[in-house]
Symmetry: C2
Subunit: 366 residues, 2 copies
């Protein structure tokens, strides 16, 4: 076994999920992540934790969903108990074919998801963490050989998380203290309010309210957005390719949209509900171990020298107690490269220019 | 997908486990049984049942057990609840290497097993069924190509179970009404008492107290054994090969043992505890779909024209209420070919000669 698989498991168990002796841990093993599951359960054995391995197979779920009449039982008790009594859930993606469920009808998926709301909430109440093993299917989606993809994944995952968390704390502090963010790219600019909102230092650990490995972004919940921005990082939105989408905001709402490719996919998202036309998230990618786009949101949105805005639902962790923030059935991230010809300002002060933060060597404020 | 995989799934779900709409079913998927799991969950979807797929991997269990300090937590609650609240458990064997746990210390396995006694009992309280998918590892163990092994497995599994159950009911009736069984092979004979005991018609269905697919045997719990018998079907006992073992019984106990190969393996079993020297089971194999030895007890002991005796623990289903029968930590089956030069007698009456039952064409009583 590649020694990095074991290192990945150690980071997941110790840094991300903070597993202790006696913890009850569900390990969700996908079709392609057997080797990582072996290393994770070895680590759990060493720590004296308990495990149940569940088999999280897209091919099985497809077969079940297609065969079912669609009247799914609500939160079957045996599965609900498993998650209600678990301390942590470690999800090890992914399958052997990222399109395995392409022929399951949208209504069926939605009905199955809805029937399992209680199970999902029980899982989210644990110290859950999602990560991926570098499978052939993900390498293919990234347009890479599996060997090169492995290098990419381990560069992103095997970082000095403690020191990245310290650096991201600086960005969080600026956002927590600031009232307004302005993002300038080329001739465009977009502005949004962030006062009263709390940024999350997403440092790939439940200790930081962060549930993805890798992570490496700081995000908050903006509102009252004005201006125009073009997202030049290509994305897949509901299985459709979107390139160079431009959104125009007035009074916090999207009033115009255009794209070099996939404009209709975006229009469909924006038409879902009223909240889908407002922003739910502003995120600043700070993981420089992620140095290329791989068509996987778990990685793309954390890439260093990018920012992303999501239309739709906002995260509770960013909101004052009792506030619901922007509500929507969707949360669609769109990413912008800010490594060149770009500035991020908080309350009129430049905090990043051309990808360099103001505390970094080479930072020049124009 | 081979259509027989779907037929296997249908037999398992309908005939064996009797799954209904709304049933909560744990599907235990081993490393090699993905395709069968897809077919089983498709069948569960059609029936309107619910599933949780657990990943039953020897390689994961090995890594966990070896890494652990051996002080295992007793019956972790999250796993116990899963089985306590399940209606059925379908175990789909097997892994990619039947020797995957060969380097886990015996004490560690035993300690882990013992710590999970409550979980095991909860699982046995459901409508559980064990079956196997024809994997390469099992083909290798059988000394067969995977193609030939598939034919073998489906011949054993895809039977007219209803009519086999009817035929086995005749054997059960003879054993239930009888007081003494005598087995003659060549010059040898062994006799045992069965009065007061109830035979199980093991027809591969929970409706018959039968939890293996394939099955096809009738078994009871004998006692007061006298005489001598040679087991000419080769076996693997605790990873050691045993050939042509002869046991001699006096007053219900083994008083002499010899074997052409593996005698020490048998002596170790017999020395486990006092119950290990007495019989726990007499079984009569009646599945003629199983026509060769494959070094897998799930199949070998059900082979048509064989009988097997097990030293050690007897099954509760064969005993009068409140009786414990023969108690032992072991249950080791030994198999004898009775297709030639053999007779089985109940209370002095020949019920089978040279593999033909007395209700079959070609039966001749000498």
């Amino acid at each position: 076994m590649d020694q990095r698989v074991r290192e990945h498991a150690d980071v997941l168990v110790d840094w991300s999920a903070r597993i202790d002796a006696g913890d009850d841990v569900v390990v969700a093993v996908s079709e392609g992540s057997h080797d990582l599951a072996v290393a994770v359960c070895e680590a759990l054995g060493e720590r004296g934790a308990n495990y149940v391995a569940v088999y999280d197979s897209d091919e099985i779920e497809r077969a079940y969903r297609r065969a079912h009449d669609g009247e799914f039982d609500e939160d079957p008790g045996f599965e609900l108990s498993l998650y209600e009594e678990a301390d942590a859930v470690l999800r090890l993606g992914r399958g052997r074919n990222t399109a395995a469920q392409a022929d399951v009808a949208g209504e069926t998926r939605q009905a199955h998801r809805t029937a399992r709301t209680g199970i999902r909430e029980a899982r989210m109440d644990t110290d859950w963490v999602s990560t991926v093993h570098p499978t052939r299917s993900l390498a293919q989606q990234a347009g890479m050989s599996v060997e090169a993809y492995r290098e990419f994944v381990y560069d992103a995952v095997l970082r000095d998380w403690e020191s990245l968390a310290d650096e991201m704390a600086k960005t969080k502090e600026l956002l927590d203290e600031g009232s307004e963010v302005r993002i300038e790219t080329g001739e465009q600019a977009v502005e949004m309010r962030i006062d009263g909102r709390t940024a999350v230092n997403s440092a790939a650990s439940v200790a930081y309210d962060s549930h993805n490995l890798p992570s490496g972004e700081v995000f908050t919940a903006p509102y009252a957005t004005e201006g125009e921005i073009t997202f030049d990082v290509p994305m897949t939105v509901n299985s459709r390719r979107v390139r160079d989408a431009t959104l125009t905001f007035e009074d916090g709402e999207v009033v115009d949209v255009s794209a070099a490719q996939g404009e209709q996919a975006l229009r469909d998202v924006l038409d879902t509900d009223p909240g889908a036309r407002r922003l739910g998230e502003l995120g600043i990618g700070m993981n420089r171990g992620i140095d290329r786009v791989t068509d996987n949101i778990l990685f793309d949105e954390k890439m260093g020298d990018t920012v992303h805005l999501a239309v739709g639902r906002s995260y509770g962790a960013c909101l004052p107690d009792g506030e619901t923030g922007n509500e929507s059935a969707v949360h669609t991230d769109l990413i912008c490269d800010v490594s060149e010809d770009s500035r991020i300002l908080v309350d009129g002060e430049v905090i990043q220019q051309n990808g360099k933060f103001r505390w970094e060597e080479g930072f020049e404020s124009a």
